[in-house]
Symmetry: C2
Subunit: 152 residues, 2 copies
Amino acid sequence: MPTTTTESIYTNLITALEDRGLRKTAARAAVTSRIETTGKAFTAEQLCIDLPQVGRATVYRTIRHLVDAGALCKLQILDGAPMYSIARVEHHHHKICSRCGAVGEFQHSTVERVMRSLEKEIDGDIIGHRMEIFITCSQCIADSRTGESSVG
Amino acid sequence: MPTTTTESIYTNLITALEDRGLRKTAARAAVTSRIETTGKAFTAEQLCIDLPQVGRATVYRTIRHLVDAGALCKLQILDGAPMYSIARVEHHHHKICSRCGAVGEFQHSTVERVMRSLEKEIDGDIIGHRMEIFITCSQCIADSRTGESSVG
DNA sequence: ATGCTAATTGATATCAAGTATCAATACTGA
DNA sequence: TCAGTATTGATACTTGATATCAATTAGCAT
């Protein structure tokens, strides 16, 4: 489960796995460590490339465990493979730079309030919601002014 | 482009294609007609099965044209193939029954207002957003009470 | 109506993402 | 140590979707 602690991302991810009764192994350590050092959102395929010493199946399995544990968010950014970002806080939404792909989190109480008011209008029971905002991040705005690119 | 007219869905879809300079062909008529009669959200694969006389490539291509034209919405409902729903109004969000998969649209002015207020907090320029709410629709609630299922 | 030409089609091959299989290996607890 | 279970990873497979390209067709000009 996502927590906001002073622990390292690595420790949180490993703990998330152990809490599910999974062993701490070299492969899982490599995957979680890489997720920490990458820092930003990533695709499963990217992790496989970054960790040639870990089998594809294991990379995918570990990601799945982490998503199931709530330690990673799976993000479908239309077209292409889903991206995964570290879940830092319990409930949040994502802001995605459509230029460089950077993914950030945000929380906004009004969104939650909107959900409650929608409850009256919607025909059925609301069981969850998801929201993404697409942005051009300040870095990309700056880069476009100087003609650079920081994608990657 | 999505419009709220008294025209049939079929006519709107065909018009959307023609507006892009695409020809009206038997294959495209079959695809759009099927989308109309299906009525609800569908997957590309489902359309292929429903229309064995139309080639897979053509089904996928026609869907892509319709999405590009804004006549269909592509919905990533985590895991599995994307679903497509008919875009009836300009800007809207989706409500998805996680029991039966029915997809509906809704508009809510507060969501748009939230976006404007977020604009100040977010580091960068907001260029769009997406919101989905997951529900159990009233039909499924009713069915679960009588032990039935209306999936399909 | 006829023919021209570019758009379209669809069988097929291919690609890409992800999962299933399963023998080999690594832990863990007694 | 040993038995038993969890884990790994090479490989094959599945699924969703796109690329190729020869054959066909729509729409236009005449």
